[in-house]
């Protein structure tokens, strides 16, 4: 009750705040007058009494504040007041505010944008309830790494335990609705899948254990597929979707965001395992074939270790009992260990290893933007300092009038907080725009995972970053206030001394920015140089104007070796008949751009290196080398495809120069023999070298061309066969006709669209292009920040030195020497910054050395160019201050003194 009354009285007081303050002032004046009267009675003169009374009363402002503070809780009062003051202060100097906010916005925006990339690639959890509970099983193969494929037997054994498990078998498939076909990702799941994963249907229903028993051809599609392929058709439920030629009925659409359990999550359709096996979409010849991924959910209170132990006990028990006899590439189940991994961030897609490809470079870019933000903070700090020094007088007056230091620091802190908040708002807007641009840009495999909108975690990150940066750049001006005394700033000479001291701190901050800019610019140079080197790298073949058409033989009638020759001959006959096609050939792999890489063990009888060496090989038809522009060094092409079955006993092959160097360093390699064998195969093939070709890169642009041999295409079975065609004219003119010809030649083959080889080479460099472009952008922004900062500081220095420059001019200094004076000072800052930046740049070079190609982490030319850029920027930024210096009128300057 009483406390309520107190609050009511406070409220009334607050509303009449001004008149109450006046009351108090008048009351205190009255008090003082009475004290003076009393003193007068004791014999002091009126003037002396007045002074003595004032002295006796002490700091009246302080007293008033104290009395006020009874009514209004001082922190709250102070915060509101300081907030208003600070806001007024910022509005009074719009130029400074705009530059400071823009600097911060660039820093915070870049951080938020890169963080949102990092979040999408490295941190984001699957959009399912309680994602942290999701686990995935892996087979630990020791030195051979891990394998996440299990057999149906193994799944059944593990699922018999207490944990909620489910299985998914993923494959690419040709999806067709209303005659329009597209290639998509298929998840073949059992009935418990949606229950374990915890995803519901936005429309219709999800799959349930009932679908396991009926084996009905029903499909659940993801929201992604519904939007992308069905144009959000409201009548999608009940429509027929043809999957690899089999008709399925769509019964449900999952909630938005969910697209399977893999990372990247790109799945389109889920169908029941039972119906998939019944229709032959899954060709499980037996229950021991490793075709499934096992995922599950541990209990909310169960640790990873608990789940791991539970499943391992079952696994070991079943292995010991001999129930599991599945072998995975020569490894028996008994010998492999079960590993249980956290799957909350999705099961990594081995073929699209985004995390492996982009993890390091994203972290490097994050470090880059953090440095950029630091430079922006230094910039804002130096701007605030420059203004603070103009306000040293004001602050000293306020201190003298009774403001507490805490209040002043608080006031400055408010300014920093407001600046960083404005910076954060502008930065988030900038980041939204940037991620939008990124999501729309052609950034290859990364494009599918970037969230085009900023999630709450990114926003939280931006807020934390802005607060931290506000703290960083706010601290220096505040420290200045804490250290300052009352007297010095109020006297003329004191002000000058303070200016000189301040100049040192300011120049230090600019030098720091210079050092950071040098680091960023030289780092960007290294990445740009890397990109250029990779672009110019000798591939060993000519990618210009080459058409590629990829066909997949897996799960088709052409999967078997015996069919390859017929397929090759049919396809090539058709394609060569297309007008405008000069050369055409088929291969199991096109260097850099696609196909499955293959390797066997090569042995040379009687050679010094008698051990088996894993060596890459490619299946090709004659004309492959001509079609790709690979030069023959000696001998002739592989023979034309002839139907063959099983592992051939002997064959004619072509090898590259690296192969010759590796296995036949001396003598003519033509006609020499070697043996190759697959691991586990007892029968080796006798190979005779009939030709030698130039080296080409294999799967990586960075790695040197490996030893490679080319075998006749009909001697193997390949999951993918890629047609390469060289047209007489422009490739895009005939590309579609060529793709159609391939599809027409072999009905039932899964044929993709036509690609240009040059495009896929470009795609292989996407990571390098993104990082080079972003790093260049960061370097440019850092230079811009340096320019603004240096401009501000030099302008201030010129103003502060006006009397000195005036005297010099009066004593006969000419324009040249004045210009020299200012430029020298500016360049001395650059010098310090560059010197400090060198070791930083070297450290940065070392940090990104794994990303570099053809350029040393310590590149003198990169450093020199970066330092040169800084000098140029410094001179440009000093032009206006120099002009200001030249315009000084000696008379005016001297009078001011």
């Amino acid at each position: 009750m009483t406390s309520l009354m107190r609050w009511l009285r406070r409220l009334v007081y607050w509303m009449h705040s001004r008149s109450r303050t006046d009351d108090l002032r008048e009351e205190l004046e009255f008090h003082q007058a009475r004290v003076a009267e009393e003193l007068g009675r004791r014999g002091l003169s009126a003037a002396d009494a007045h002074v003595a009374a004032r002295r006796a009363m002490g700091n009246e402002t302080y007293m008033r504040e104290e009395a006020r503070s009874v009514w209004v809780p001082p922190p709250l009062e102070a915060v509101v007041q300081d907030w208003r003051y600070a806001w007024r202060g910022l509005r009074r100097s719009p130029g400074l505010t705009v530059v400071a906010v823009a600097s911060l916005a660039l820093g915070i925006g870049a951080n938020a944008a890169i963080f949102s990339l990092i979040h999408s690639v490295l941190l984001a959890r699957l959009p399912i309830p309680a994602a942290t509970e999701l686990i995935a099983a892996q087979r630990d193969l020791g030195a051979r790494g891990v394998d996440d494929r299990f057999s149906l037997d193994e799944y059944r054994a593990l699922a018999s335990g207490p944990l909620h498990l489910t299985m998914v078998s993923s494959a690419s498939a040709v999806l067709e609705t209303d005659g329009v076909s597209a290639s998509g990702w298929l998840d073949i799941v059992d009935g418990s899948y949606f229950n374990v994963v915890g995803v519901r249907a936005a429309r219709g229903r999800v799959l349930s254990p009932r679908d396991d028993s009926t084996a009905a051809p029903v499909a659940v599609i993801t929201d992604r597929f519904w939007r992308g392929y069905l144009n959000t058709d409201s009548a999608a439920l009940g429509r027929v979707l043809t999957i690899d030629g089999h008709a399925f009925t769509i019964v449900g659409i999952t909630t938005p965001g969910f697209a399977g359990l893999h990372f990247p999550a790109l799945d389109d359709v889920m169908i029941p395992f039972r119906s998939a096996t019944a229709l032959g979409i899954v060709r499980a010849t037996n229950t021991q074939a490793p075709i499934l991924t096992i995922v599950g959910r541990r209990g909310a209170h169960e640790s990873m270790d608990d789940a791991r132990n539970t499943l391992r006990v079952i696994w070991n028990h079943c292995c010991a009992a001999g129930q599991l006899v599945a072998a995975s590439r020569g490894q028996s189940a008994e010998r492999s260990t079960l590993a249980i991994e956290d799957a909350s961030r999705g099961i990594p897609e081995i073929k699209i290893d985004l995390r492996g490809r982009y993890g390091r470079i994203l972290l490097a870019l994050m470090a880059g933007v953090a440095i950029l933000l630091l430079a922006a903070c230094a910039n804002v700090a130096s701007l605030l300092l420059a203004r603070g020094s103009a306000r040293v007088g004001e602050l000293a007056v306020r201190l003298a009038l009774g403001a507490s230091r805490r209040r002043l620091v608080m006031h400055l802190a408010m300014e920093s907080v407001q600046l960083s908040m404005l910076g954060a708002i502008a930065g988030v807007a900038l980041a939204r725009w940037a991620t939008g641009v990124l999501a729309r840009a052609n950034i290859g495999d990364l494009g599918g995972v970037i969230a085009p909108t900023l999630g709450s975690s990114v926003l939280a990150f931006a807020i934390v970053v802005s607060l931290v940066s506000g703290l960083i750049f706010g601290v220096l001006p505040a420290m200045r206030v804490l250290r300052s005394d009352l007297v010095t700033p109020l006297s003329q000479s004191g002000r000058r001394a303070a200016r000189a001291q301040r100049g040192l701190l300011d120049r230090g901050l600019i030098a720091l920015q210079m050092a950071l800019a040098l680091l960023l610019v030289s780092g960007a140079m290294l990445l740009v140089e890397t990109l250029r080197n990779l672009k110019d790298a000798d591939l060993g073949f000519d990618p210009t104007q080459r058409i590629l058409v990829t066909s997949e033989t897996r799960h088709t009638a052409y999967e078997h070796q015996g069919m390859t020759a017929r397929l090759a001959n049919d396809v090539l006959a058709r394609v060569r008949a297309v007008p405008g096609v000069k050369d055409a050939a088929l291969a199991s792999l096109i260097p850099i751009s696609g196909g499955r890489s293959s390797y066997d063990n090569v042995t040379v009888r009687g050679a010094a290196t008698s051990s088996e060496v894993e060596t890459n090989f490619i299946g090709v038809t004659p004309g492959f080398f001509a079609a790709l522009g690979i030069r023959f060094r000696a001998g002739h092409d592989v023979p034309a495809p002839r139907a063959s079955f099983g592992v051939p006993r002997s064959r004619d092959v072509v090898v590259n120069e690296a192969f010759v160097k590796r296995f036949f360093p001396v003598g003519n390699p033509i006609g020499r023999l070697f043996e190759d064998s697959d691991e586990g195969d007892s029968l080796a093939t006798q190979d005779r070298i009939v030709g030698v070709v130039a080296d080409t890169k294999y799967t990586s642009l960075r790695a040197p061309a490996p030893a490679t041999y080319y075998v006749p295409i009909a001697d193997g079975d390949w999951p993918y066969l890629i047609l390469v065609a060289r047209p007489a004219g422009r490739a895009d003119a005939v590309a579609r006709t060529v793709a159609r010809a391939v599809a027409d030649a072999v009905p039932g083959l899964r044929v993709g669209g036509a690609d240009l080889l040059s495009v896929s080479i470009d795609d292989a460099l996407i990571r390098e292009r993104i990082s080079a472009a972003l790093a260049t952008l960061f370097g440019a922004v850092a230079l811009a920040l340096v320019a603004v900062g240096l401009y501000g500081v030099m302008l201030y220095q010129v103003t502060a030195r006006t009397p000195e420059l005036g005297i010099r001019m009066a004593l006969g200094a000419n324009a040249r020497s004045i210009v020299g004076l200012v430029i020298r000072q500016s360049l001395s800052i650059v010098g310090v910054g560059v010197l400090a930046g060198f070791p930083l740049a070297l450290l940065a070079g070392r940090a990104v050395s794994s990303q570099l190609y053809g350029v040393a982490p310590y590149s003198p030319s990169a450093l020199a160019i970066a330092a040169g850029a800084l000098v140029v920027v410094a001179i440009v930024a000093t032009l206006v201050p120099v002009r200001r210096a030249l315009r000084i009128d000696p008379l005016v300057a001297l009078r001011a003194e």
Partner: protein, 112 residues
Amino acid sequence: MPRAAKPPELLPGTLDLLVLRALQSGSMHGYGIAERLRQVSKDVLQVGESSLYPALQRLLLDGYVRAEWGVSDNNRRARYYTLTAAGRKQLAAEHEAFERMIGAIHAVLRFA
């Protein structure tokens, strides 16, 4: 204002009590209260303005005193404080508590 030895510090919390007590005999302005306390205590209690006025504000906030502008004996506008009913009750309560405390302190000083 001649000051002899440093005046003893007030026991914490007693200023409010003394102010309330001073007002018991009738309304007074701030300066009057300070003077009254000084006179009655024979110059021992010299209440500084920097503690008197916050104390008065506290009492206003608690509703123990009321303030009105009036005219002082030398014809100046002055702010007069008057005890309220709640103030009287509070004075009685604090007075009693204070006596108990002093008694206790005395007892300890004598016998402990």
